[in-house]
């Protein structure tokens, strides 16, 4: 047994007491869906875990109606203090059931237990704890005094961080006084349904949180529903575009957190050992299923060979396998569909002339797996340098000057995140200034915190999640009629009142 071989150390599944089938969570209770139910499987073994209900348009109607009733009768009338206490309850219940949630997440999503246990679930609790404290302090959210909730929020989340994305969506929405209908991704519904049980345990008023499961058509019905005041979506840029078109012309407020193709820039004076760890964390964390993953490594030409050699050494020590094993570094790819996409783009990389290196690791017989992969000799025109692969595949490009690094980093329609590695503080700040990205990590990567705003520039979407900024996505300024100095105009054409709902008057008027 070499130093790299560890005895299996699987986390026990006995902590889970899953049901055989799950209904929709509407108005505080589980009920059958009217669409055709589907199976959720473990991507590591392809074994069935449970049957999940499928919400059709009528179910979406019911969920939105339940959220509307709860908003009007209960949640919008409740004091911020009490809303906050409910959120604190949820945070504590998540902590109490943390191990169970982590095991369920790794089982259903395929991510390593050490990530779900040490990153995802603790952040879920932190997110609810953070926003709980905001619920009775909304006057300080940056929208002026007495901001108002928007109403019913439709929230559609992806499969890469199922429970964490739920927390990013639900916690600020409820703190701000909205009620929600949330649809988890088709392949990762399980922890959202466990969360529904937590909502019951917290005795949250019925209808404040509704969770409906299903595929893309369920999500489309939800975001297009007339009874919805707010749409929040995390997922692909293609779907985000479609949602923006659906929402166009309505009074719905929209926030989108979409794809990315982040540059991770390594200068020749960077602390190489830390940088290599950061590069690995940047792209191989969560099998690369991360919208802000550092999928384009921009390394200064003079240290290219050294960095690539060290990366290959480091990747050769990563352990790929059972997500529930505590020693696993790389888990399963979430679905066959995603695996096919990674394979396709990776093959295109070879066809276009980049050189592929794959970490030597044994691929389990069942399930969906992709070994950590590095492409060198990548040109900016290559598809693997332009398109989001959303898998454990790193494209390596080089640069000579900081200006070239910045130009290459910004040469993408995306703008979600970026990384900078150098020992020179003034260079970090100057480069950070010029990167068109919503999150910049300097000498670190893939850090998340409920107090820290997260979101994109350009085609990576708009709006922020996290921090005070994240509250703004679920609030509108109070109406302050008559506060502005009015100008008498004598335009010849009479004003036509808009058929659509007028925007509220603005705050902060000049006096």
């Amino acid at each position: 047994m070499s130093f790299l071989e560890y005895a299996p150390a699987p986390e026990s599944r006995s902590i889970l007491s899953l049901r055989d089938d799950y209904g929709l969570f509407i108005d505080g209770a589980f009920r059958a869906g009217r669409g055709t139910p589907f199976q959720t499987i473990s991507p590591a073994s392809e074994e069935r875990i449970a049957t999940i209900a499928n919400a059709n348009a009528d179910d979406v109607d019911d969920a939105v109606a339940a959220a509307r009733r709860a908003y009007e009768r209960t949640w919008s009338r409740m004091s911020g203090r009490d809303r906050g206490k409910y959120l604190f309850r949820i945070a504590r219940l998540v902590q109490e059931r943390a191990r169970e949630l982590a095991v369920a997440e790794s089982l259903d999503n395929g991510k390593p237990i050490k990530e779900s246990r040490d990153v995802d679930v603790p952040l879920v609790a932190a997110w609810f704890f953070y926003y709980a404290g905001w619920a009775d302090k909304l006057d300080h959210a940056g929208l002026g005094a007495n901001p108002r909730a928007l109403g019913v929020a439709a929230q559609v989340i992806p499969w890469n961080f199922p429970l964490l994305m739920l927390a990013w969506k639900i916690a600020p929405a409820l703190a701000a006084g909205n009620t929600v209908v949330l649809k988890p991704a088709e392949t990762t519904s399980l922890t959202a349904l466990l969360f529904a049980e937590i909502v019951q345990q917290a005795d949250l008023p019925p209808g404040v949180v509704n969770i409906i499961t299903g595929a893309g058509d369920t999500g489309a019905a939800l975001v297009g529903h007339e009874g919805v005041d707010k749409v929040a979506f995390t997922g692909s840029t293609a779907v985000g575009r479609q949602i923006a078109k659906t929402v166009a012309g309505t009074s719905k407020k929209l926030t989108l957190e979409l794809g990315g193709k982040a540059a991770n820039i390594v200068f020749d004076d960077a602390p190489i050992d830390q940088a290599v760890e950061g590069i690995v964390n940047g792209i191989f964390f969560n099998q690369g299923h991360v919208c802000c993953a550092g999928s384009r490594l921009l390394v200064q030409e003079s240290i290219h060979d050294e960095v690539v050699d060290r990366l290959k050494q480091r990747l050769s020590t990563l352990r790929l396998g059972d997500p529930l094993d505590k020693n696993t570094d790389i888990g399963a790819i979430n679905s066959r569909e995603q695996l096919d996409r990674i394979r396709e783009l990776s093959d295109v990389g070879v066809d276009e002339g980049a050189e592929r290196w794959t970490a030597p690791c044994e691929i389990p017989e069942n399930g969906f797996w992709y070994a950590p992969t590095i492409f060198t000799g990548v040109q900016t025109s290559h598809r693997i340098a332009r398109e989001e692969i959303f898998g454990p595949v790193l494209s390596v490009l080089t640069f000579r000057t900081p200006q070239e690094a910045i130009a290459k980093a910004n040469n993408t329609p995306y703008g979600l995140s970026a990384g900078i590695w150098t020992d020179k503080g003034s260079r970090i700040l100057a480069v950070a200034d010029q990167l068109r990205a919503g999150v910049v990590w300097a000498n670190t990567f893939n850090r998340f915190d409920p107090a820290s705003p997260f979101g994109g520039y350009k085609e990576s979407g708009y709006g922020r999640e996290g921090g005070r900024h994240g509250l703004g996505a679920y609030l509108a300024p109070a109406s302050v009629g008559g506060a502005q100095r009015r100008i008498e105009t004598t335009d010849a054409t009479p004003r036509v009142e808009s058929a659509r709902r007028a925007r509220p008057a603005k705050k902060g008027a000049a006096k």
């Binding site: 990590w441 300097a442 000498n443 915190d449 085609e459 979407g461 054409t493 902060g508």
Partner: protein
């Protein structure tokens, strides 16, 4: 015996210059009483694209200027406008058929809004950004940055105030602007461009198009090098189609507003054309 007046030729304002429309087209502008005032340039798709190119070229320098500098440049616009107050009042009286008092009020308010927004330039980041107390050894700060090139359909019912109320907030954070002026009252927009051209606003930071918003706006809404679209004055256009076109490149969109409060001075008009950047840095004694 009265002196024969010398009328002005009104052209477009693109990249700091005053070209005619490349299409050669003009349209008649008439006052509220129906009297002929001028032939304004009728901007084409090509003019709109040229304006976007100029704005893209200018935005880097404007965004990189210090906030203090941007504040002074915006304040300088107010100074110059004050000096040409009489000209704008007369222009608005003629164009809108407004009384002297109403026209004066519009010009005064426009000047005061430049001053209000000028003052925000070096304060907005403090109000909109901040340090984030993350749970770890990291320095973490959020700052607002300009979105980039902002295309604006100015409010259509005023000559000057609507235009200023939409252009000024976009400039505060460092965006460059392509604005489509009021179709019926375009002359003050070009007179304002003369003020901008002789103030300290770098060329290309503001570009003014006159003509038909219904014709020009779709090209701006679909233009891949436009980052945000302010439809505040597009209420009478097929603005839903404009918002749908804007979705193809995920532009930030502000929807139409009507009435005297349209584009009223507000911090969120500045915020609407900014992106929050959050920078993390490790803390260590080693």
């Amino acid at each position: 015996m009265s002196r024969l007046a010398v009328p002005k030729t009104y052209k477009l304002f693109i990249g700091g210059a005053f070209p005619r429309s490349e299409s050669g087209r003009t349209y008649e502008v008439r006052g509220a009483d129906g009297a002929f005032l001028a032939n304004a340039a009728k901007a084409s798709r090509k003019d709109a694209r040229d304006a976007v190119v100029a704005a893209r070229g200018a935005v880097g320098g404007w965004a990189a200027a210090t906030a203090y500098n941007r504040g002074q440049v915006l304040y300088r616009i107010a100074e110059l406008l004050e000096g040409r107050r009489a000209q704008f009042i007369a222009e608005i009286e003629e164009a809108e058929g407004a009384t002297r008092a109403v026209a004066s009020a519009q010009v005064d308010e426009a000047i005061d809004r430049w001053v209000w927004y000028a003052g925000w330039a070096d304060k907005f980041a403090q109000v909109a950004g901040g340090a984030n107390p993350v749970a770890g050894p990291y320095f973490n700060i959020s700052v607002p940055e300009p979105t980039g090139v902002v295309a604006i359909v100015a409010p259509q019912d005023t000559s000057l105030l609507g235009l200023v109320s939409t252009v000024a907030p976009a400039l505060v954070a460092g965006n460059a602007v392509v604005v489509v002026a009021s179709e019926h009252h375009p002359l003050s927009a070009i007179s304002l461009a003369e003020v901008l051209a002789t103030s300290d606003v770098p060329k290309g930071v503001v570009n003014v198009l006159t003509g038909s918003p219904a014709e020009i706006a779709p090209w701006l809404a679909a233009h891949a090098d436009v980052n945000a679209l302010d439809l505040v004055g597009a209420g009478d256009l097929d603005w839903v189609d404009l918002e749908i076109a804007a979705a193809d490149t995920l532009k930030r969109v502000l929807r139409p507003e009507r009435g005297p409060d349209a584009a009223a001075p507000a911090l969120d008009r500045i915020a609407a054309f900014t992106e929050t950047k959050t920078v993390w840095h490790t803390k260590s004694l080693r």
